[in-house]
Amino acid sequence: MLLLIPLLPFLGFLVNASFGRRLSKAAAGAVACAAIIGSFLVSAAAVWRLAALEPEARAIVQRVFTWISSGDFTVAFTLRVDPLSAVMILVVTGIGSLIHIYSTAYMHEESDSEFARYFSYLNLFAAFMLVLVLGSNFLVMFVGWEGVGLCSYLLIGFWYQKKSASDAGKKAFIVNRIGDFGFVLGVLLVFVRFGTVDFQDIARTTAALAPETAFGTLSLITLLLFVGATGKSAQIPLFVWLPDAMEGPTPVSALIHAATMVTAGVYMIGRNAALFSHAPLTLTVVAVIGTATALMAGTIGLVQNDIKRVLAYSTVSQLGYMFLAMGVGAYASGIFHLYTHAFFKALLFLGSGAVIHALAGEQDLRRMGGLKDQLPVTYWTFLIGALAIAGVPLLSGFFSKDEILFHTFAGGHTILWIIGLLTSLLTAIYMFRLVFLAFHGERAASAHQAPGTLAPGTHAPGTVAPGTLAPPVHDHVHDAPPAMAWPLIVLAIGSVVAGYVGLPHVLGGSDWFARFLEPSFNGAVIAEASEAAELEGTLMIVSTAVAIGGIGIAVYFFLKHRDAANAVAARFAGLYRLLLQKYYVDEIYDATIVQPIRIVSQEGLWKIVDVRAIDGTVNLVGRVVEGSSQELRRTQTGSVRAYAASLFLGVVLILGYYLWR
């Protein structure tokens, strides 16, 4: 039964990839949606069966076939559902289904064959992600791990005729490859150390070990695996691909950011919680990187002008939170945030897609505004998403984010907690900046900034030269069609209620989510702090105040006094430009890594090693053969007697050797 979960989307992919160009849009969309919804239903049934089992025995395993059998090393293609992967398959297929449905409307202007191509990729993406979360050992996981990398490349570069889109696809793929390299090394080292790649066996073996106090094999393994996670989940230093991934169609961004792909790294750490918790050194690295990423991305998100880019940086930032949770040993909280984040981030992306759709491709926040009345469904659902991500009490984001901050504080990581809180403030500010710029105020003719002449489609970074503004050409602003509106509404409801499965003790809940996940983290050292309910209550009030404060700041700067925001930007012009240019990370990478590699490859490897050494050797061999042949052919005189003489001489020499040796 488990096999059906990834197989159904895969079949959908096969159908759309093989016959897609002959199918109508309605048929192609129906096949894809049916495949993913079917997968969702099977997942739900599997989770239902799982929930009926005893908490300790909660795992359904299906061994599909023996994949590799070499000597005493065997790897089976085994799928396994336990509470952790149960959460993941529900998120992937559930959110994935909504995104599929939404896409049928969003992508409707594509031609038939492009439409089918899009849906075949979308299905393939879901299939690989499901393999990733269902795999019961590293190798099966790796199949999915590479598969989602491939699909992200295909989907980000979906509009491949656009240079920036195909570049962004390549960037995503290459950056991911760097991470994957670390991951592969980590897996190899796991095999060397444990002699197996099965998650359960590894967890059992590690559980018996004492946590490493100094840097040892476990630390190295987990660090390498974490390198892989930074690639997939867009953490420092490999986060640069995610904002560029905005070149893909908006529902793809939603899929990548919410349901699939970026959650892979977090999931992988959760899956190997036992391993990671026995390497405290790595955990510290994870927590610090996560926090740094959260802060960095949050500050960048504050000033970006492309609606999707703001959301992209908010994803990076929220992923930082998840890694912070993993790093402080609060694995369940990290997965909890992953799960709530899937709802509101999918909602926000699909909402921004609805805005872009309504404005005929406009993505620049400075050209939006006043959409509140024209797009009521989009506005209200988007607002709910923004409230949820900002951490306003009683919405899903509040519970999960609060739990992470609580565990961070309770674990004694005060500095990380302060930065986390600061990021939470930034989150509230940039999200509500987005809401106010896009939906409130006056459209385009807004006074706070005089947008320069922006060519459509260019996300003009940098300063805006005052100039004439082409009159907005959004003639027919229309709200989302039903296929887009319903997913938004469902996700909005999810964003409100999803958090209640993890209601903490202090609010009268039982933290059911964490207890449900517990069997998956067997063998891990879990941050235990449930008795500090009073502390949790206090921290909750603090973070609520921070969230409200952030919204208040956004109200002041971006709703009431937009000129004040400009004044601040002008006052700290250097800082503003630094943030707008994303800390020049791309430029730094280009200067320190890309260009040196290019120069070494071109001037050294190509012009010296390849041309001189490799080609030179080959040519030398040719020349030696040719030259010696030139000389040797002189013995071919054509004189029969000379041949006979040499024959005779040879015989005499050989006989002489045997006679007188």
Partner: protein, 100 residues
């Protein structure tokens, strides 16, 4: 009664004469004759060993050699005639077209 050594010595002398003939003579037909002498020198060795060892094998092989020699002489002479028609010469040094 000549001993085996005598036969072998005679055979060696004959073989040397044949070999020298192949190298020094400038006439293809003489060269062919010299080759026949070498073959017969070998035949003599076979027969001598056959007798000394009391076995018929040596004599049987000689029959094979003589048969092959007859065939070889026929083919060789045919080639010589063809060559002569081509170049009006029997000197092997004038047939050096098959060189670099």
């Amino acid at each position: 009664m000549p001993t085996l050594g005598d036969y072998l010595l005679l055979s060696a002398i004959l073989f040397a004469i044949g070999t020298a003939g192949v190298f020094v003579r400038r006439n293809l037909i003489t060269i062919l004759l010299s080759i026949e002498i070498m073959l017969n020198a070998v035949n003599l060795t076979f027969v001598a060993f056959g007798r000394a060892l009391g076995s018929a094998d040596g004599q049987i092989i000689v029959f094979f050699v003589m048969t092959v020699a007859a065939a070889e002489a026929a083919v060789g002479l045919a080639i010589v005639i063809a060559l002569f028609r081509h170049k009006e010469s029997l000197n092997p040094d004038s047939f050096t077209m098959l060189k670099w």
